[in-house]
């Protein structure tokens, strides 16, 4: 942890080294777990890339005392280096067919690869989840192959469908709901990433790893039907 910044009246921002690095993420998420377990009272924590945002509601909390407590907790945690955090690896099916891969052609043009190679590179990577935000259940994934980076569309589309798999710059991700969007769409994932009827509503958490697996249209449709049934349990997508 590099430093703690004040962020308004009832929040503190804890920042790590500004780099997209799984090791830094690991250190940060290990401390996030310690904070959640150690801090007394009602705190909310949001984490993304190298930031932890600590939020509370009580107006009379002594912020300087809290900062000191956090520093002490962190220094203490470095001594006990073994991570007790559970990291899950998920394999998510993606259908890359023409009818859903709206921007595949522009990535073909930009990269000089054909669509088969682009799909191979998209599926060939291990992605790390650096946080959740933008939309409920939207995963910030790191690890996209350099050759298939592509800037966002100059003008966003009014509507991108739920499950759309896209690329924007060095990021790739899945739209958990229909939304306006400026990402380059290359496929669709049938798995619901956010469900208010489940706890937690997102089965993937920061620090987890994701693989994409290319599936045929028939398999994609089977998944779509299966996720609607009450029996569907995301745990069947766990790899490790």
């Amino acid at each position: 942890m590099k430093h703690i910044k004040r962020y308004g009246e009832t929040a503190l921002l804890l920042e790590w080294e500004a780099e997209i690095d799984p090791k830094i993420l690991q250190n940060m998420l290990d401390f996030k777990k310690i904070l959640l377990e150690s801090l007394e009272g009602e705190f909310e924590i949001v984490s993304l890339y190298w930031s932890i945002l600590l939020i509370w509601d009580k107006p009379n909390l002594n912020i300087n005392d809290l900062k000191d407590d956090i520093h002490a907790l962190y220094d203490n945690s470095l001594v006990n280096k073994k991570s007790k955090r559970v990291v899950t690896t998920w394999e998510l099916p993606v259908y890359y067919g023409k009818e859903v891969a709206w921007d595949m052609e522009s990535i073909v043009s930009a990269s000089g690869l054909d669509s088969k190679q682009i799909i191979e590179k998209h599926c060939g990577a291990t992605y790390t989840v650096y946080g959740i935000g933008f939309l409920p259940g939207f995963l910030y994934l790191g690890g996209l192959h350099k050759k298939i980076h592509k800037d966002r569309l100059a003008m966003p589309r009014a509507k991108v469908p739920k499950g759309a798999v896209g690329i924007a710059g060095e990021q790739t991700g899945i739209y958990p709901q229909g939304s306006p969007g400026g990402w380059n769409i290359i496929g669709n994932c049938p798995i619901p990433l956010f469900d208010v009827n489940r706890y937690p509503p997102s089965f993937v958490k920061a620090g987890d790893r994701i693989y994409f697996k290319q599936v045929r249209k028939e398999t994609f449709l089977e998944w779509k039907a299966m996720v609607e049934t009450p029996d569907f349990n995301p745990n069947i997508l766990k790899l490790i």
């Binding site: 308004g8 009246e9 909310e44 949001v46 945002l53 935000g133 933008f134 939309l135």
Partner: protein, 279 residues
Amino acid sequence: MIEVYNPGLFTSVQDKGRFSYRDFGVPVSGVMDEISANNANLLVGNSSDAAVLEITLVGPTLKFHQSAIIACCGASIALYVNGNPIKINNAYTLRRGDLLECKKIVNGCRSYLAISGGINTKEVLGSRSFYFPVTSQSRLMLGDSFSIGKQKSSGTKKQNTSFLDINANVIEVYPGPEFSKLSFNHLEQLFAKKLSISAQNNRMGYQLSDNIGGIKESMITAPTLPGTIQLTPAGKLIILMKDAQTTGGYPRILQLSKSSVFLLAQKKFEDRIQFRYLG
């Protein structure tokens, strides 16, 4: 049961907000002007947790199919029960069959209608605050109906102790995480004169009309809060509010005090505000 005869411009059920899910990307939502919402709840004998209707600019018409105590606080709004005018900041007992018309807001932007027992719509992720698609709708629609919770047996209605001064225009700010990226020129433009609310304002955020010049370096997406002021590369200012996305990629230059978020919720297009730096 209460029936919506006319939903008004943008009326939604809001309570204190949806906590513990921001880490999943779910905005906190909840009432924007907490002081006025709380005053309305106090007047009808509700706890401050009770869900209320947040009314924006033009209010709803509601048919009461049961008796209830109501109160409306916040912006000045024209109110009528069965055609007879009633006042804001007062509690009234409505009887079964009564029609409540909340018409135009004349000064300010948002009013809060509290009903005894609280609005009893479905709790999703621990809150009744409307936020689509976490809840099935973002606002009240024509023909909707909802129930209210059981009335509190004590029946004592407390007096309001503090009101929001809707005509105030000083917005207090602390430095945001990227405050140090601002130049002297930026600071001068932010604090030396009043700035204007643009037509782009809603529960997600308030954009200001003024252009103060952008910051060159880009930033990775980071967690944000309601009350965070972002500076876009184009030089525009966006003040995030209760339904704002939980993360953002624009520099977070300033952060509003909590009470200034309540006050900003009463501002509308062409209103002018003055930032005051709290350091």
